[in-house]
């Protein structure tokens, strides 16, 4: 584990009539997989959206590699890559064109563009369908395009929001392997999921959210406590929080 990459401090956020985040705090480091866990509606996605500047905090603060999301949103966006369960791609563009578009918008300059796109295509084993239009790709192939566009600018912080929820077993496995590989290359990987089995296998540290509050935080072993599995600890914590 190296330095702090993401700092969330007493973050609050209200969406419409719902107070979604009620003062949550945590830190995620470079070179680790940090799990953001919780049941549906706990505030995981909202937290990630605030971190990547899609939403502004109502109170508290978020810093990414020293950049405050409110003060320097463009610097933050240039340093994060986000993969969600939504594998929306531009259907009339090829896989390569989809990736190149996001690379250009992320500031990858002309000279490096093809090299970066080729590197990502190689790394995610996408050569075979790189020049196929996205509308003809399978779900797993589209998910690879979604990952590729999120990492093509080589961001130091990667966020995965329920990335395997729409995928089959093989594609899910590839995603998990990719997260481990990214961690090995010193990236800060934030993994939001309600699949505790995945979290237990992959995460170095986790924070459990419930109704917009942090109910537990620490290493996976610490949070599991005396239980056999993280799921048991998780259910116990939710019961206590109620």
């Amino acid at each position: 584990m190296t330095g702090t990459a993401v700092t969330v401090d007493r973050l609050e956020k209200t969406l419409g009539p719902n107070k979604v985040l009620r003062g949550i705090s945590f830190e995620a480091h470079s070179g680790e997989i940090f799990g953001l866990l919780g049941p549906n509606g706990a505030g995981k996605t909202t937290t990630l959206r605030v971190i990547c500047t899609l939403l502004a905090p109502d109170a508290g603060s978020v810093e990414v590699l020293g950049f405050d999301t409110r003060v320097a949103p463009r610097e933050v966006r240039g340093r994060v890559g986000v993969v969600t369960a939504e594998i929306g791609v531009y259907p009339r563009l090829t896989a390569r064109e989809n990736i190149a578009y996001f690379a250009e918008l992320s500031g990858v300059v002309d000279g490096a563009l093809n090299r970066r796109v080729d590197t990502v295509l190689e790394r995610l084993d996408m050569r075979e369908f790189a020049n196929q239009r996205a509308e003809s790709l399978s779900s797993g192939q589209k998910q690879k395009v979604a990952i590729a566009r999120a990492i093509v600018h080589d961001p130091p912080v990667l966020m995965f929001d329920e990335p395997t929820s729409n995928l089959d077993v093989l594609a899910s496995r590839e995603i998990r392997e990719f997260m481990v590989e990214a961690k090995g290359r010193g990236k800060c990987v934030i993994f939001s999921t309600h699949v505790l089995h995945d979290a237990e296998r992959l995460c170095d540290r986790v924070t459990i959210l419930h109704q917009g509050r942090v109910v537990a935080s620490g290493t996976t072993v610490e949070v599991r406590g005396g239980y056999q599995e993280l799921e048991d600890s998780f259910l116990s914590l939710l019961e206590t929080a109620r």
Binding site: C52, R77, R92, L105, D110
Partner: protein
């Protein structure tokens, strides 16, 4: 590379691969010539169409020649009034005291035959009177003590074609400026949300205003292409088709260079304004279909201003009317076509009005594009 250009290039590439947009542009280029071709066929047929006149009594000498030369076929019937209901187009009875005419005004063929008949009879009367006067040694010109010589200040045929263009061209320009890019506008706004690509796009460091401008420029380019394709194809079709109803057999249609320049300038302003407006509506919508529902009322604003020109041809507005978007474009274009002149003050007011409208629509689109609800609603 600048984000505006990156987004513009990508949108153009996607649009040009979209069958719906290509069909819209193709429709723009082909629909008007097809409609005009049908009109020309109908008008030519109407002009050369023969009608049947049922008659009783003795035909005055020489009148039958006039009938046949104007496409009225005489048929002997027992009861001209009864025959005029269904069997023939009009019925007439030649009597000792004159001509009784029977026709059904609800039938278009009867109306046309009636006009021809009135023309023939008035010519026949004039010729008969002139002959009688001459026989008695009187100059027939005594019947016309105040002869009028008409000196048209411009070609009547040209005026007829300009009148036609002054309605049709603004209508095509406005309609195609809106509909030509509508599919692309909704695809790049509501479609982005529907395809779930919006969040990824907003996650890039590119300023949202630049992303929006790139999209607007792409839609404007498509709208402009559709509008100009429709107008050029219309002008080509008009120059090739023969409209039988016109005075000299053909409707001579051409657009002066000044009118062409004004038209292109207005097309740019209209296309840009409509692009901002439709993208704003698309951004408000949750999906493509909802965007189409939001955009439907816009069709009315395309037909209404052009209709004013059709129903009030001598509408001479004060400068205040040039502040009304869309209507002002119609008025300026009408003046450029009919008078082959531009009132620069009116054009300046029109330009300012359309630019302001486009600016307000852009501001609305930008506000919608940058608010958090854009994502939360999806």
């Amino acid at each position: 590379m600048n984000a505006v250009w990156i987004v513009f290039s990508k949108e153009m590439r996607e649009i040009l691969r979209d069958r719906r947009t290509l069909i819209a542009i193709g429709f723009a280029a082909l629909a008007t010539p097809i409609v005009l071709f049908v009109i020309s066929q109908v008008s030519t047929r109407t002009a050369s169409q023969s009608y049947t006149v049922g008659y009783t009594g003795e035909i005055p000498a020489g009148l039958n020649i006039l009938f046949s030369s104007t496409g009225l076929n005489l048929v002997k019937v027992d009861d001209p009034a009864a025959a005029a209901k269904q069997q023939v187009d009009i019925g007439i009875a030649f009597t000792a005291s004159g001509v009784d005419e029977y026709y059904d005004p609800t039938r278009q063929s009867a109306q046309i035959a009636d006009v021809r008949l009135q023309t023939i009879l008035s010519r026949y009367d004039a010729a008969k009177i002139a002959a009688a006067l001459q026989q008695k040694g009187v100059d027939p010109s005594v019947l016309n003590p105040l002869p009028v010589t008409v000196h048209p200040l411009s070609s009547p045929a040209k005026a007829a074609s300009n009148s036609f263009l002054s309605f049709f061209l603004p209508y095509i320009l406005i309609t195609m400026s809106l509909t030509g890019g509508l599919s692309a506008a909704l695809d790049t706004s509501a479609g982005e949300r529907e395809r779930k690509t919006l969040e990824s796009l907003l996650l890039t460091p590119a300023p949202r205003s630049h992303v929006l401008i790139g999209k607007i420029l792409a839609v404007t380019a498509i709208s402009l292409t559709a509008a100009l394709a429709a107008i050029i194809s219309m002008l080509v079709a008009l120059s090739q088709l023969n409209f039988g109803g016109s005075r000299n057999g053909t409707l001579s249609v051409s657009l002066s260079p000044l009118a062409a320049v004004v038209m292109v300038w207005l097309a740019v302003l209209l296309a840009a304004s409509f692009s901002c407006l439709t993208i704003a509506l698309g951004t408000l919508a949750r999906n493509f279909r909802q965007g189409q529902a939001y955009a439907t009322p816009l069709y009315f604003i395309t037909i209404f201003p052009a209709s004013i020109i059709l129903f009030i041809p001598d509408f001479n507005p004060n400068v205040g009317y040039y502040l009304i978007p869309i209507l002002n474009a119609v008025l300026v274009l009408r003046d450029a076509i009919i008078h082959d002149a531009v009132a620069w003050g009116s054009l300046a007011v029109t330009t300012a009005s359309l630019a302001l409208t486009g600016g307000l629509c852009f501001y609305a689109a930008l506000r919608l594009f940058t608010r958090e609800a854009l994502l939360v609603r999806s």
